[in-house]
Point group: C2
Chain length 154, copies 2
DNA sequence: TCGAGAAAGTTTCAAATGTAACTAGTTTGC
DNA sequence: GCAAACTAGTTACATTTGAAACTTTCTCGA
């Protein structure tokens, strides 16, 4: 060890947070374009529909917790969807501040049209991977996510 | 097959684009907070510094290509860094429209302080993974990235 | 060698986003 | 049973972002 200690260099192209960000942003942008073009939905609106489609009756705050969206973003997305009559609010009887959200028939119909598109996009994204690889990838992402936000028990 | 054909349901928590987005946004936000608090740098500014630290002499457009940032974002980041005397522009002799960018001594010093922090953050993020897992994760992300943007030959 | 078209980078302006303040309703503790 | 503290959701405002227009410089073809 006669050399001076050199700091390990940073190779951005190999740096995990950077790669995650680039991939995620590219994917999000592509998806956003499609949803906007075909359905006039923003990513946030679509995310709200996806959550309510899966779990009708959740409130805005519950969506906020699950979707990693902040409550203002949820509020705006919900407002837009209600205006377009894709989503309905129903006041919670026990608590006047909250409302339970559900898809209207029109919202449900749109949801049913989007789901296969979303799944086919996921399939396209992982076209180079086999089933086991996809599972592995999701598991690895989970391990990282667990470190970053330890208490996501959704 | 006597049942009606049911569409495959969408489980958002299992949907890869969604998971990528949530993880990436969480990670980016955390990193942004640190860089902002300790160095007064935005993510974009740090990204520019990281690229120039690795490859001095690149132009704004070249950064834009590599970093998946659009040229306006690069322009603004560069302007901010030049104002703070972290980055220097030198007009390309052969082409008056471009300038080649490099870190000033101050920029270099800051870069050398950030690199170990960045690497330790990456290590923290993958704390639950062993070395082979990390390589595997990067390889899998690459496979997806190759599908999404086939021509990234950086 | 001149003019049309393209490229680098900046500026402008509108839309999206986040923070903080706000309203309305609910719970708690005394 | 009521005031203080708290929560759900919205609104307002400031900042960030992105798209398009613009300026300057360069390239190419006639």
């Amino acid at each position: 060890m006669t050399e001076t200690t050199k700091t390990k260099p940073l190779r951005l192209a190999d740096f995990l947070p950077y790669r995650l960000s680039v991939l995620s942003n590219t994917v999000s942008k592509r998806i956003a374009e499609r949803y906007e073009a075909e359905f006039g939905l923003s990513i946030g609106q679509w995310r709200v529909m996806a959550i309510i489609g899966e779990c009708p009756g959740l409130t805005a705050t519950e969506i906020s917790d699950r979707a990693a969206m902040d409550k203002v973003a949820v509020s705006r997305a919900v407002t837009g969807l209600v205006e377009r009559d894709l989503l309905a609010r129903k006041a919670t009887q026990s608590d006047g501040r909250r409302s339970q959200l559900s898809l209207t028939p029109g919202g449900e119909a749109m949801y049913q049209r989007i789901v296969p598109l979303a799944l086919s996009y996921e399939a396209e994204l992982t076209a180079a991977l086999n089933g086991a690889d996809v599972d592995q990838l999701k598991a690895l992402l989970d391990s990282c996510a667990a470190v970053v936000s330890p208490r996501r028990l959704v």
